[in-house]
Every structure is written in structure tokens, then in C-alpha cells.
């Protein structure tokens, strides 16, 4: 177990990081309550690894990777019979990928994006969140996901294919990824 002073440092880190981690978790899983559970599990993993993390610095990078792992593990383990609301009902209200053009014009681009994100396979969704919310480079996203840079590129490209195709030709307008990176 870490010494007391390590626990103080860990608590300070956790208090500072949990908000950002929770937002990331929400974008990865689409549910604020489940996001809180995922953050709690990720922080437990960080606690266990804490002594060596503080030697190396970059504790947040470890926490983020632990969080991604927790979310992906959860997605894999979901029973096929479990009914899971992948996105807050309020967010997707009025929007459905399947219903297509029955979209009401008042549907916001944000809701549309979240609804399509919810339908992406978990790793594609994680690529989008890590690249465009966490603003990670391809190399850092690959480390966070434990895969090659090429896999991140291909998974991100597939995800953006999907996102763009929904926005294209719809009242929502064009979807861009701006910000100085190619995707």
C-alpha cells in the first residue's frame, strides 16, 4: 500500500483529474452514471500503480489508458441479452440513425454526432474521442488503445466515414475535423 503522503498526492491527482476523465468516459460510453463507474474503476487501477507512476510522471496518461481499457472491457463483456441504452435518451431525442430522414430540423448537430457515436463499434468510438476530444496524436492514441498507429488511422477513418456520411446531404451540413490534423 502506498505511504500516507502518496495517498494524499493520489487524492489530489484524482480530484483534479476526475472531471476530465468523466467527460471522456461519457463520450466513450454515452451515459453519465456509467461514466462515473468507469472513472472509479480506472482510478482504482491508478491507485495500485501509483508509486511507479509518480516516478515517471504523466499520471494522467496512465489514468486515461486505464479508463479506455475499463470502457472497452465493459463493452466486450456486455451480455447479448442485456438491454443497454448507449446514449442518454434526452440527447438522442428526435434523432435516429435508422429512421434517417424523419429527423426533425430542430435536431442539433451535437445530438446527431452523439447518436452516431453511440452506434459505432467501441474501438472506433474510442479513436474519435481520443483524437478529437483528448486531442491525442495518432501515436499517443495508439498507446492509449494498445494498438498500432496504422490501426488507429484505419479505425478513425472508418469512424469518420460513418460520421460524415450521416451529416452529408442532411440539413445538418458538413462535418469537419479541423484543428490542423488530417484526421
Amino acid at each position: 500500500m502506498p505511504e500516507r503522503r502518496d495517498e494524499d498526492a493520489f487524492v489530489a491527482f484524482a480530484q483534479g483529474a476526475r472531471g476530465r476523465l468523466r467527460s471522456t468516459a461519457y463520450l466513450l460510453c454515452g451515459d453519465w452514471d456509467r461514466a462515473a463507474d468507469h472513472v472509479q474503476e480506472a482510478l482504482i487501477r491508478v491507485y495500485v500503480a501509483w508509486p511507479r507512476l509518480t516516478k515517471a510522471g504523466r499520471e494522467y496518461g496512465y489514468a486515461r489508458k486505464a479508463l479506455v481499457s475499463v470502457v472497452l472491457d465493459h463493452a466486450r463483456r456486455r451480455s447479448s441479452t442485456e438491454v443497454v441504452a448507449d446514449v442518454d435518451a434526452s440527447i438522442g431525442a428526435g434523432y435516429s440513425v435508422d429512421s434517417g430522414y424523419d429527423l426533425a430540423e430542430q435536431v442539433t448537430a451535437r445530438a446527431a454526432l452523439l447518436a452516431v457515436l453511440a452506434d459505432l463499434p467501441p474501438r472506433q468510438r474510442a479513436c474519435v474521442v481520443l483524437r478529437y476530444f483528448e486531442d491525442l496524436s495518432v501515436a499517443d492514441a495508439a498507446r492509449a488503445l494498445g494498438c498500432s498507429e496504422g490501426t488507429v488511422k484505419s479505425q478513425t477513418a472508418r469512424a469518420l466515414d460513418r460520421l460524415r456520411s450521416v451529416f452529408e446531404d442532411s440539413p445538418l451540413g458538413e462535418l469537419t475535423v479541423g484543428g490542423g490534423t488530417s484526421w
Partner: protein, 454 residues
């Protein structure tokens, strides 16, 4: 109206509900887990076998401090080693012929059209889309000599991100990924003679969240059905020199291998083999039981006689298998082997089906895979991402030569199956001439279809 993904994501979390994360529960859970880990090392072997095995992986790979990567410099693999800097320059007309090229100037805002593979009889599978709310995709067969497209009938509705599995002279097969990551294994098939689509589902095949599939040399389709999902070791991964968690050598998912007959939906066979990754030569099934290198064996089964043998490929101690294909008596394994003070340890190992390493292409930020054919190819495509080495290279299994084909790589992911001796090469297309590492993004891509001269 223009919508920016970054801005939309930020807006989505701008007004979160109250945070009820219980840090005292985190501390309690963390303390309990630390106690369990410490106890695991001294408990009897019957009680804590699983935990001990996972911890052993870290100890053997990490040295005295199980949580810290011990080595600081990229280690040299066993046997001959080739590097990107060893490559000669491929010359059009001498080493390869350019059969066709296509430039998509704006993949960023519109998917548009691009090469999606090449059929066994040499026609380009030319893809348009996906487009629109329905995610519509259509394909043409394009004559590389004339550029004329023969547009095919629209595929069945409700298909999400289909991926070419085999592009035969008689039929085209596509994997149809379930949109939500669940559902039965499903193939879309186009009969080229009748120009009709059909959807194949084998009711006897177990359902899973993920599938892997490949045609065997016997004409059956072999399907890896996810059997076990990997988990991180207790306490998480060790830390790399950059402070990031490094899961080199971590366990990955495993699959149970089944096979089905394309022409008989009742013909489903349990191959009774647990695989990490699998592939085929023209006569053999080749597989590993796991994807990590620490305890890995490569297994070879002659499909005509049933005879099996296995060997230790002598992967590095921290290598994860990222690509795995075989041809003739060669096996090509792409690996990520960890990050060190002097960069990533990426490898493409070429070895014989008897286990002898022919060579290892090693570099920082390279990917590689056997790119052509169906068990009869000979071209290993190596993609170098580091800005000072960027480009596509080809290692020819027949001649053992490594040649550079291009000096840029596209950030976009395109392409699909190609017959033996052919390659699809993607170059960046952008305002500054194109570089995936440049500050100006490569908005589009230039694709080449080349035929290799051997």
C-alpha cells in the same frame, strides 16, 4: 453549415450533471486490490493461479521492478535485421509497372470514390461512399487500362461498412459488420455472372461480438469466433519511458476456430482449435494460440494430411502480434514490441514454416504485412510513418530485396485484397504536396495500382 467534431464533443460535455464519484470508495478499492496482489505471490498455487500468471508476465518482461520497463534502448532481434535505411529505390519500368492511379482530392469533407481492392482477374473494385444518412455504398468494377467503370447493382440495404474478404472472378465476398458490434456472422456475396446480391448467414455458427474470417485453400470460410476477451493485468500495465502505460506483451482476445461452406448454410464445422491469429498458405493452416510474444508458439497444420507441427518463433519478449499472414513456406508477422528511450520497437518478422527466421525488418513507427494474394503472395508492404523516413516500401519474399516505392503515405485508410504480384499504394494529397506529418493536412489521397516485376 459547417460542424466541427472537436467543438461538438466539447459542447456535449459542457454541462455535466453533478459529479458523485466517491473517492473514498476508490481508496478503499485500491487498498484492497493492493493487498490482494501482495497476497497472490505467497498464496498456494491452486488458489491464485490466474493472478500469479499475469504477474509473472510482468516480472519476466520488466525485470526487478515488475511495474517498470527495465530496458531503455530498443533491443536487436535474433537473426538478420533489415532497416528502412537499407532500402534501395524501386524504379518504374524496372521493378514495377504502374497499372492505374486515382486521385481523390477531398476525402476530408466527402468520402467520394477510391480503389477498394482488385479482383483475381485484374479489375479494380472501385468504391463510392459511404454517403448520406443511409450510409450508402456502391461499387463498380473498373478496367485499369481504360478507366471505364462498370457500376454494379446496389448492395442490400442496412449494411454497415462492408469490407471486401475475397474478390474472385466469379463472386465478390464482403464481411458485413453488425452496426452495433453484435449479431450473427454475415457475408454479402455478389454473383458476377447474374449480377445479383445475396446475404449468407449460417445458423449453426455461434454468435459473438467480434469475428475474424479468411478463406481457406479448401474453399471453406474459416471464422474466428471470439472466445475470451483479454483484461489488463492486476494493477495495470507497466510504464514506458515516456510515462505512458505500455501494454507490449499484454494478452489479447482469443477466438475459437470454426469453418463454414459458402454454398451450404447448414455446413458448419467446429475446428476445435483455439487461436489468437490465423492464416493460410496454399496447403496449410497456420495459427498462434495467443497474440503476445511471451509464451507464443506458431502451429502449422497440413490441411491435406492433418499433420501438425509447432515451433517457437522467438518473438521478442514484449511483442504483440499485429499482422499475421503466410504464403508458400514463409510466415510474415507484424509486431509491436514496446516503446523505449530511443523510440518504438516495431518489427516485421519473416520466417519459414519450420520456424527459421529469414529476416526481421525493424524500425521506429513502421507497419508491415504480407499484402498480396491468398496464400500465394510474395510482397510484404512496409509503411514507414516517421517524417524522415515516410513512405511505402516493398520487401519481396522471392528475392529478399527491400525497395522504396514512395516517399509519402496517406493518412486515409483505403484498399483491400489484391491478387499475387499486385499492390495498392496510397500517397498523401494535400496543399503542400502531401505529407501525413505536415502541418497542412492531406485532404485527399493518390492511389496507385502497381504490378511488381520479379
Amino acid at each position: 453549415m459547417v460542424n466541427d467534431v472537436r467543438a461538438l464533443l466539447q459542447e456535449a460535455v459542457a454541462d455535466p450533471p453533478g459529479d458523485e464519484t466517491d473517492l473514498s470508495a476508490v481508496l478503499l478499492g485500491g487498498r484492497q486490490r493492493v493487498r490482494r496482489r501482495r497476497g497472490g505471490g505467497v498464496l498456494g498455487s491452486t488458489v491464485a493461479l490466474g493472478v500469479a500468471a499475469a504477474t509473472l508476465t510482468l516480472v519476466t518482461s520488466g525485470g526487478a521492478d515488475p511495474g517498470r520497463v527495465a530496458e531503455h534502448r530498443v533491443p536487436r532481434p535474433e537473426g538478420p535485421v533489415l532497416r528502412v535505411s537499407d532500402a534501395g529505390t524501386a524504379v518504374e519500368g524496372r521493378d514495377y509497372d504502374l497499372l492505374a492511379s486515382y486521385t481523390n482530392r477531398d476525402l476530408e469533407s466527402r468520402n467520394g470514390q477510391y480503389f477498394d481492392g482488385v479482383t483475381d482477374d485484374g479489375l479494380i473494385l472501385f468504391r463510392d461512399g459511404p454517403h448520406g444518412l443511409r450510409n450508402r455504398v456502391r461499387w463498380a468494377l473498373r478496367d485499369p487500362a481504360t478507366g471505364v467503370n462498370d457500376w454494379l447493382p446496389d448492395p442490400p440495404a442496412g449494411v454497415d461498412q462492408p469490407r471486401a474478404l475475397r474478390l474472385g472472378a466469379d463472386r465478390l465476398y464482403f464481411l458485413a459488420t453488425p452496426l452495433d458490434g453484435r449479431g450473427p456472422f454475415r457475408l454479402l456475396v455478389l454473383d458476377r455472372a447474374t449480377r445479383t446480391w445475396s446475404t449468407l448467414v449460417w445458423p449453426g455458427l455461434p454468435r459473438a461480438e467480434e469475428y475474424d474470417a479468411a478463406f481457406g485453400p479448401d474453399g471453406r470460410i474459416y471464422v474466428g469466433v471470439q472466445a475470451a476477451a483479454a483484461s489488463p493485468p492486476p494493477g495495470g500495465w507497466p510504464t514506458g519511458p515516456d510515462g505512458e502505460a505500455d501494454d507490449a506483451a499484454a494478452e489479447d482476445d482469443t477466438n475459437d476456430l470454426w469453418s463454414v461452406a459458402p454454398g451450404d448454410l447448414a455446413d458448419v464445422r467446429d475446428e476445435k482449435t483455439r487461436v489468437g491469429v490465423f492464416t493460410f498458405t496454399e496447403s496449410a493452416l497456420v495459427w498462434t494460440t495467443q497474440r503476445d510474444g511471451t509464451r507464443e508458439q506458431v502451429h502449422v497444420r497440413d490441411l491435406r494430411t492433418g499433420a501438425e507441427h509447432d515451433f517457437d518463433p522467438r518473438l521478442g519478449a514484449r511483442c504483440n502480434v499485429l499482422s499475421f499472414r503466410a504464403s508458400g513456406d514463409r510466415i510474415v508477422i507484424g509486431q509491436y514490441c514496446g516503446t523505449y528511450d530511443d523510440g518504438r520497437d516495431d518489427r516485421i518478422q519473416v520466417l519459414t514454416t519450420d520456424g527459421e527466421t529469414v529476416t526481421t525488418l525493424q524500425g521506429d513507427s513502421i507497419d508491415g504485412w504480407l499484402a498480396d494474394g491468398s496464400g500465394d503472395g510474395h510482397l510484404v508492404q512496409v509503411r514507414a510513418w516517421r517524417p524522415d523516413q515516410e513512405g511505402d516500401l516493398v520487401y519481396d519474399l522471392d528475392t529478399d530485396r527491400l525497395l522504396r516505392v514512395s516517399d509519402s503515405v496517406s493518412s486515409w485508410s483505403m484498399g483491400g485484397p489484391v491478387p499475387a504480384g499486385s499492390l495498392l499504394v496510397d500517397r498523401a494529397y494535400g496543399e503542400d504536396g502531401g505529407s501525413s506529418a505536415s502541418m497542412i493536412p492531406d485532404k485527399g489521397a493518390v492511389q496507385w495500382l502497381i504490378r511488381w516485376r520479379s
